[in-house]
């Protein structure tokens, strides 16, 4: 699968990443190389095979829903890159 610049830009936007012109070329080539490599899987006949979507062989176990410990307001804000007394702060969303 040949990846072009437009695809890189589209995927980078979805992944919330940016690449400058030089990095864009590198990631384009790297993605192309790796996708060509994983396409080996097309040699495998998977007709009528169900995809493996869950690694557990056990049935889901439910627990009682009860009130337990939770983070205090203060420790919730502890790691915030920017905050005020009560809230996380981010750049303005509405004008």
């Amino acid at each position: 699968m040949k990846i072009d610049r437009e695809t890189v830009r589209k995927i980078a936007h979805l992944a919330r990443l940016e690449f400058d012109e030089q990095a864009e070329d590198q990631i384009k080539d790297s993605m192309t190389e790796i996708l060509d490599w994983v396409e080996q899987l097309n040699e495998v006949d998977t007709t009528d095979i169900q995809p493996l979507t869950n690694m557990s062989l056990e049935v889901n176990k439910f627990r009682e829903d009860h009130i337990g410990e939770h983070l205090s307001h203060q420790s919730g804000l502890l790691n915030a890159p920017k905050k005020d007394q009560h809230y996380f702060r981010v750049p303005k969303v509405l004008d």
């Binding site: 990846i3 695809t7 890189v8 995927i11 980078a12 979805l14 992944a15 919330r16 990443l17 940016e18 690449f19 990631i27 790297s30 993605m31 190389e33 790796i34 996708l35 490599w37 994983v38 396409e39 080996q40 899987l41 097309n42 040699e43 495998v44 998977t46 095979i49 169900q50 995809p51 493996l52 979507t53 869950n54 690694m55 557990s56 062989l57 056990e58 889901n60 176990k61 627990r63 983070l71 420790s75 919730g76 502890l78 790691n79 915030a80 890159p81 920017k82 996380f88 981010v90 750049p91 303005k92 969303v93």
Partner: protein
């Protein structure tokens, strides 16, 4: 007194012939002496000493837990309340854990002492511990060589005697491969055997916590303490945890398979091959059944593994957006550019590559062609592996195609991915596997041997691996 294993000293600790304080001091001096290996991102010196004194008191009072005297390092992906953790990444700069993960808590509850956090590839993505925001870790057998990865710091800490054991995580070989490169024992338990609560996620259908040790007893003990049901991880197994420490005896004859494709593999180093063959011959001479099995699907394990883990990683790592914790870029005017600049500046190259590829294969137009296809091949690979393990007790193969390579030797990502060729099969099938030391090459670089067995048969795995270690 040899402090390189817990089983050798715990009687002395219990009887007060050596104190936890003395043990901690010993390790601290080795850590300092070998700081050039870049193993620890942080050493909890004062804290470890204080805790050692507390535990020494408990020992005197006869109240100490099963791990009193055990000093552990933690890979930088395990949450430990009040301590930094950042998965070797700039994007988690200054992040402090708000809680302790289940596995780590269980170790602490048995009076283990934690001595520091250890370097790894960023978000556990890598096979050499070169992809860390903190620079590479070096192999103690030869510092020009990598320790393997992603849990490279943890492997070297045990190899170099900086702690009794270390706790890492294995997604496609991140415990076994560095264990092989460093000549120590590295265990990947059955998927879901240990709670993942408090483990920073890479690929959730593969990730599992596992120990590095210098012997089998310590590995069995650590798994016994860490494993089992947990309310905080809905995917953890509820199967009862056997007494692994009582499973180290081995007798009788077993059926062992080796995969023809692994020994005929093009990139297989001749000395790794001959060491593996020696082991197989030994088993044959001892009267075990040793048979070659065809596994023509081997060439598809790496593409399947990388495709699925990249997809899962792109989803798991979407949480790092600079809003509530970690690094944030302030060169921004609005939310969208804040997200983009934060992630672009915070993540390293390999992580970005995997996020991009993962996002691509999960995007609407390509989902079925790549992601669903890989899940189907995973089903075939898992079934084929389980089928072999129904007919044989163990699969024996090299842990890695080569001994530790040099720093900077694999600059192309695809070349690096091939280092995982023999370890990903067990990860794809979710079955347990262990790497044990199997001698060294002519340059003194360690070689590892991998033993795989069926789901939840860790007790069998310990017994047989111990037998191999003792008799070869």
């Amino acid at each position: 007194m040899d402090l390189r294993s817990f089983s050798a000293i715990h009687e002395h600790v219990k009887n007060g012939r050596i104190s936890c304080k003395e043990i901690v001091d010993h390790y601290l001096s080795i850590i300092e002496q070998k700081s050039h290996l870049n193993v620890f991102l942080e050493v909890y010196e004062g804290e470890a000493k204080a805790r050692a004194e507390e535990i020494d008191q408990k020992i005197q009072q006869g109240k100490a837990g099963r791990l009193a005297g055990m000093v552990l390092g933690l890979k930088d992906v395990l949450c430990y309340k009040g301590h930094h953790v950042q998965a070797g990444s700039k994007i988690l700069d200054n992040f402090q854990s708000q809680f302790t993960g289940t596995a780590v808590q269980r170790l602490l509850d048995e009076d283990a002492i934690i001595i520091g956090r250890q370097n790894c590839d960023e978000f556990a993505m890598g096979s050499s511990t070169e992809n860390s925001a903190f620079g590479p870790t070096r192999n103690d057998a030869n510092p020009e060589h990598v320790p393997g990865g992603s849990s490279g710091g943890s492997a070297v800490s045990v190899q170099a005697g900086m702690c009794t054991a270390a706790i890492g995580s294995d997604t496609g070989g991140s415990v076994r491969q560095p264990a092989a490169f460093c000549g120590v024992v590295g265990l990947k338990p059955t998927y879901s055997r240990v709670s993942r609560y408090g483990l920073i996620a890479y690929a959730s259908s593969f990730d599992i916590i596992g120990p590095f040790t210098n012997n089998m007893e310590d590995s069995a003990l650590l798994l016994e303490v860490m494993a089992g049901a947990d309310d905080f991880d809905s995917t953890v197994s509820h199967q009862e945890v056997p007494r692994y420490t009582q499973s180290l005896q081995f007798n009788g004859k077993v059926r062992v398979a080796y995969l023809k494709e692994t020994l005929e593999s093009e990139g297989l180093h001749p000395e790794v091959k001959s060491k593996t063959l020696e082991t197989l011959q030994f088993l044959q001479q001892e009267g075990h059944t040793v048979e070659a099995v065809d596994f023509p699907l081997l060439r598809y394990v790496l593409p399947t593994y990388y495709l699925l883990t990249m997809a899962e990683a792109s989803s798991n790592l979407s949480r790092y957006d600079g809003v509530k914790y970690g690094y944030r870029s302030f060169q921004t005017a609005n939310m969208e550019s804040m997200y983009k600049k934060t992630r672009t500046e915070g993540f390293g190259e390999e992580v970005k590559r995997r996020i991009m590829l993962g996002t691509f294969v999960l995007s609407a137009s390509y989902y079925d062609a790549y992601y669903t296809k890989a899940q189907k091949v995973r089903k075939l690979l898992a079934d084929a592996t389980r089928k072999i393990l129904k007919e044989y007790d163990f699969i024996v193969l090299p842990t890695t195609p080569t001994p530790a390579f040099k720093l900077g030797e694999h600059s192309n990502p695809l070349e690096m991915y091939l280092a995982d060729l023999f370890t990903v099969q067990a990860s794809i099938a979710g079955v347990p596997a262990i790497s044990i030391p199997n001698g060294t090459d002519v340059h003194g670089l360690p070689i590892g041997l991998q033993v795989i067995t069926d789901l939840f048969q860790e007790d069998k795995l310990f017994g047989f691996s111990q037998y191999l270690l003792e008799n070869k």
